[in-house]
Structures are given as structure tokens and as C-alpha cells.
């Protein structure tokens, strides 16, 4: 059911802008008076002002993208490079391990990146990398205040990304896969 908004034609007095101006002045004057008396939004939220009390972001905020470890502390990323391909500003650069690179530190992954760099100066925080990642290894977390003194400093390498990203135990895609795979070797198949 559409609601029909009744738009009454404005009277001459209303069309002179005068009542609108007057009401506007009243609203702004009221806020001004409140502020002079010492009220403001920061105070009403009861937390204090920004540099001392950092702003708390709400859930789902798209901050800086970081790599996460799984519940056992292993690198989740398998160097598939999908995020590198999808990244619109080309902020991500992955160096794959190659044929003779170090093996993945996770038992059921074939490889992990030799190097994983995100240039935070290029990143636009769109979240496509998080969306595209099949391993759920990269997440936009709640960091919003990224500063550095040089451009080089703002290219975050793998170590740093993993350290900042922390453990993301929420999604445990591979947790029981090893046991399941082992169980499939025996016959008859055990059912859980």
C-alpha cells in the first residue's frame, strides 16, 4: 500500500522563506545554547575526546585488511592470489613460494605465500579481498588510524599483517578435515 503524502500548496507567507528561516534560526540557536552550557555529543556518549579515548568502531566496520591465523596459529593464506587479482587499486602483492619454496605451515594446505604485501596507501578498504578469499584468511578489521612517516613504512609485509591480524578462530573451515580424511581411509566409514 503506497502512502500518498499530502503536499499542501505553500501559502504566500510560507513562500517568502521567512517562517523557514525563523524556525531554522531557532533550531541552531537551541543547539548553540546547549553547547555553550557544556553539552556535546562526545560528552553525552560518556567516553571523552578522540586522541585520548580512541573511537570505538561498530561491528562490520571496514578498517585495514590484515591476514589472520587459524585456531592453531597457522597461516591460513594458501597463496591463491585471488585477492591480488580482485584488488581494484592493486594494493596487494603476493610472492608465491614457487616449486622449491617453503612448505605451508598448515598440515592440510599445499602452499603459503613467501611474501604478502599490502600497500596501505593504495588500499581503498573496499573489502573485495575479504569477500573473494576462499580460505577466509584476510579480514578487514577495526583499525582506522593508519599513519606512517614514509611510503615504505606503509607497505605492510606478511609478518606484520599476520601479527596485526591475530587469530581468527571464528571460521574453522579445515578443523575436522584431517580426521575426516583419515577416517575415509578405513572401512567401513565411521559416521559421526
Amino acid at each position: 500500500m503506497t502512502k500518498v503524502v499530502d503536499r499542501k500548496p505553500l501559502s504566500f507567507y510560507e513562500r517568502t522563506y521567512v517562517p523557514a528561516l525563523w524556525e531554522g534560526l531557532k533550531v541552531t540557536a537551541r543547539h548553540f545554547k546547549r553547547s555553550v552550557q557544556g553539552h556535546n555529543t562526545a560528552k553525552e556518549l560518556g567516553e571523552g575526546y578522540y586522541p585520548e579515548v580512541p573511537w570505538r568502531v561498530s561491528e562490520g566496520y571496514r578498517g585495514a585488511p590484515y591476514l589472520v591465523r587459524d585456531q592453531d596459529g597457522h597461516t591460513k593464506c594458501v597463496s591463491c592470489q585471488l585477492c591480488e587479482f580482485v584488488c581494484p587499486p592493486k594494493a596487494i602483492r603476493i610472492t608465491p613460494p614457487g616449486p622449491d619454496g617453503p612448505p605451508a605451515d598448515r598440515p592440510n594446505a599445499e602452499k603459503m605465500p613467501r611474501e604478502f604485501e599490502i600497500n596501505m596507501l593504495r588500499c581503498i578498504f573496499c573489502g573485495l579481498c575479504q569477500e573473494v578469499c576462499p580460505e577466509e584468511a584476510i579480514f578487514l578489521e577495526d583499525h582506522y588510524s593508519l599513519t606512517g612517516l614514509t611510503r615504505e613504512e606503509m607497505v605492510f609485509d606478511k609478518e606484520r599483517l599476520l601479527k596485526l591480524g591475530g587469530v581468527h578462530a571464528g571460521t574453522q573451515k579445515w578443523k575436522n578435515k584431517l580426521e575426516e580424511a583419515a577416517a575415509q581411509e578405513s572401512f567401513p566409514v565411521a559416521t559421526h
Binding site: 528561516l21 531554522g24 534560526l25 541552531t28 548553540f32 546547549r34 553547547s35 553539552h39 555529543t41 562526545a42
Partner: protein, 369 residues
């Protein structure tokens, strides 16, 4: 020898004029700096924020009570801003038309200061034949001079928009040329009615008339309203900041400017605000006079009191400028032109005709009859 030199009226004139120019320039520059602070504070308060409250030179916070209070008011913020503008990189893009690009900020800021020359900001500081009028140039064509200079102000903006050689500044420049020329008409015509009543173009005499007969806003409320709104348009203040419109033109005519060149535009805008506030006070709000303080001052203290009254009235008008900015959204461009051409100019013309008729019919009202 010094005595004889100083008794020469030409030398006296030059000496007094120099002092007056320096004082007015210094005071206006200070006002500009602090108008920016007031703007930021008022906007913050209207939006339930705090505004600048941290800038502090070393050791100020050590002063008990007063120090932290001044810092909370943001008193030191303009100094920090000025320092920042001076130290910033002055970047000139490769693709601009260099000569005009460098010329435009100066052309934008100079008219704003030139207008102040004819404003009578006080009566006089002492009685007697040697008393100096508190106006830099006591021109008999005061208001014509003002309008001539004010219309030069648009060239700074148009030149800036054109010489930047990129899209947004260009659009801003085009808008400003159309807007400022349209509203200049309405502004000029609104003032004609005032001169019909007073019968003189000299701003000092207009103030004297108001001191004797009451403020002009009582005789010419419509003219005041037209002048006020046109002044908003002429100084590019919201709701008429079409040339700038940050949200659609990325800053408009000053998009390509940085550092001190940008600061000059900024300075010009606030100097313009001060000049038009001063003009409104002079034309409509009685200048330096109050209803019971109409006589030109006979002593130093009286003269200073008149200066204070003028400055106080001007500050009230400045706060109105700032207040309105944080209340009204920007007009659409066609609405702006519509208001200027189809509402204000006919209204101003009607006001002139009605004033002239009333003056012709009512004998003895005003000096013109």
C-alpha cells in the same frame, strides 16, 4: 623645524592617513583571523561539537585557570593556522596559466580591503578645528566608490577559475561571474532608496542623518533585507556559496590553490564579510551612533566609545553571517538566479518608486525635499 613641518596641513593629512590606514589594516587582519576562529567555534557549537580547543604555545597551560581556559576557547588557533599556511608547500600545477594564477589571489583580496577606506568607523577623537574624522577617505561619492571596488572583487574569482585550467574551478568561476553580477544589481538598487531619503552619497553624512533622525533600518526595512541577502551572495557565503560549493565543485575556484595563495582567498572572503558588515552598519544600523549618543565626540574617550559602538555592531553582523551559514543549505543555482532576477530586482525597483512617491507626497520628510 619639526613643529613647522607638522603644522603644514598636507603633512598632517599624510601622517594621519598613514596612521589610520595602518591601524585599520592591522585591526581588520586580526578580525579576519579571529572571525575564522569564531566561525569554527560557532559551527562546532551548533553541531554539538567542541571546536578547536587544544592549540597551546609552550607553558601557557602552566598558567593557573586562565591558561587552560584560553586554550579551551581556541585563542591560539589562528596563530597556528597562520603559521601552517606560511610553512605549507606552495604548489603551482604544471597546467595552469601561471601569470593569472599568481595574480588572481591578489585581485581577490585587494578590493576587500579597499572598500574599508570609505567606512566611517567613528566620529572623531577630539573636538576643535584640527579634529580628524575617523574615516580613511571621506569621499563625497563614498557608496559609488564602494560599488565600483566591490565589482572588481569578482575578477579575482573568475581569473582564478579560468587560470586554474581545470573543470571544477572553471565551473566555480562561471558561477561566480553570473551570481555576483546579478546580485550587485539588486544590492545597488536597494541602496538607492537610502540615498533618496538622506539626499547624500557621503557615508559620513548618512551616519549623521541616522544619528539625528533614527536608524535607516526603520525607514527602509525592505532595502535592508535586500542588502543583507545580496551581501551574502556578494561575499560567497552560504546559502549562496555557489562558486565554492565544496560538495559539488570540490572547492570551486580555489581547488588548485595551496598554501598562502589559498589563504589569500580565505582572507579575502572574511575581509569581504567584515567590509559588508561595516557597510550595513553604516547604511542601516546607525554607524557609530546610538540613539542617545548621536553627537560627534568632543573628547578622546567619547571618540573611542563611538569606535567601540561601531565595532560592536559590526561584530553582531558578522555573527549573523556565521550563524546563517550553519543554518541554511545551499540554494540550487537556478533558484539563486531566480531569486536575484525575478524577486529582488523588481522588489528593489518597487522600493525605489514607493520611496520616491512618499518623499514627494510627504513634505519635509528627509533632506531630499
Amino acid at each position: 623645524m619639526f613643529e613647522t613641518l607638522f603644522s603644514d596641513p598636507t603633512v598632517q593629512f599624510i601622517a594621519f592617513s598613514t596612521v589610520k590606514i595602518l591601524v585599520v589594516f592591522g585591526v581588520v587582519m586580526t578580525f579576519v583571523a579571529y572571525a575564522v576562529l569564531v566561525e569554527r567555534k560557532v559551527s562546532a557549537f551548533i553541531q554539538d561539537r567542541v571546536g578547536p580547543n587544544r592549540t597551546a604555545p609552550p607553558f601557557v597551560m602552566k598558567i593557573p585557570v586562565i591558561g587552560p581556559f584560553l586554550v579551551r576557547c581556541g585563542i591560539f588557533q589562528p596563530m597556528a593556522d597562520g603559521l601552517k599556511f606560511i610553512l605549507k608547500e606552495d604548489f603551482t600545477p604544471d597546467y595552469v596559466r601561471k601569470v593569472y594564477f599568481w595574480l588572481a589571489p591578489a585581485i581577490a583580496v585587494i578590493p576587500a580591503f579597499l572598500t574599508l577606506a570609505v567606512i566611517p568607523f567613528g566620529s572623531q577623537l577630539s573636538a576643535g578645528p584640527g579634529a580628524q574624522k575617523m574615516v580613511i577617505a571621506d569621499l563625497n561619492v563614498g557608496i559609488l566608490y564602494t560599488f565600483g571596488i566591490v565589482s572588481l572583487g569578482v575578477y579575482g574569482i573568475v581569473l582564478a577559475g579560468w587560470s586554474s585550467n581545470s573543470k571544477y574551478p572553471f565551473l566555480g568561476g562561471i558561477r561566480s561571474s553570473a551570481q555576483m553580477i546579478s546580485y550587485e544589481l539588486a544590492m545597488g538598487m536597494s541602496v538607492v532608496a537610502v540615498f533618496l531619503v538622506v539626499g547624500d552619497l557621503n557615508l559620513g553624512k548618512i551616519v549623521r542623518f541616522q544619528a539625528e533622525h533614527g536608524w535607516m533600518i526603520l525607514y527602509q526595512p525592505v532595502a535592508f533585507l535586500l542588502f543583507l541577502v545580496s551581501a551574502f551572495a556578494e561575499t560567497n557565503r552560504l546559502p549562496f556559496d555557489m562558486p565554492e560549493s565544496e560538495s559539488e565543485l570540490v572547492g570551486g575556484y580555489h581547488t588548485e590553490y595551496s598554501s598562502m595563495k589559498f589563504a589569500l582567498f580565505f582572507l579575502g572572503e572574511y575581509a569581504n564579510m567584515i567590509a559588508s558588515s561595516a557597510m550595513m552598519v553604516t547604511l542601516f544600523l546607525g554607524g557609530w551612533s546610538l540613539p542617545f549618543l548621536g553627537e560627534p565626540a568632543g573628547s578622546l574617550w567619547g571618540g573611542l566609545l563611538h569606535l567601540g559602538i561601531f565595532v560592536a555592531k559590526m561584530l553582531v553582523m558578522l555573527v549573523v553571517f556565521i550563524w546563517v551559514r550553519w543554518m541554511l543549505p545551499r540554494f540550487r543555482y537556478d533558484q539563486l538566479m531566480d531569486l536575484g532576477w525575478r524577486r529582488f530586482i523588481p522588489l528593489a525597483l518597487a522600493n525605489i518608486v514607493v520611496t520616491a512617491l512618499v518623499l514627494a507626497l510627504v513634505d519635509g520628510w528627509g533632506k531630499g525635499t
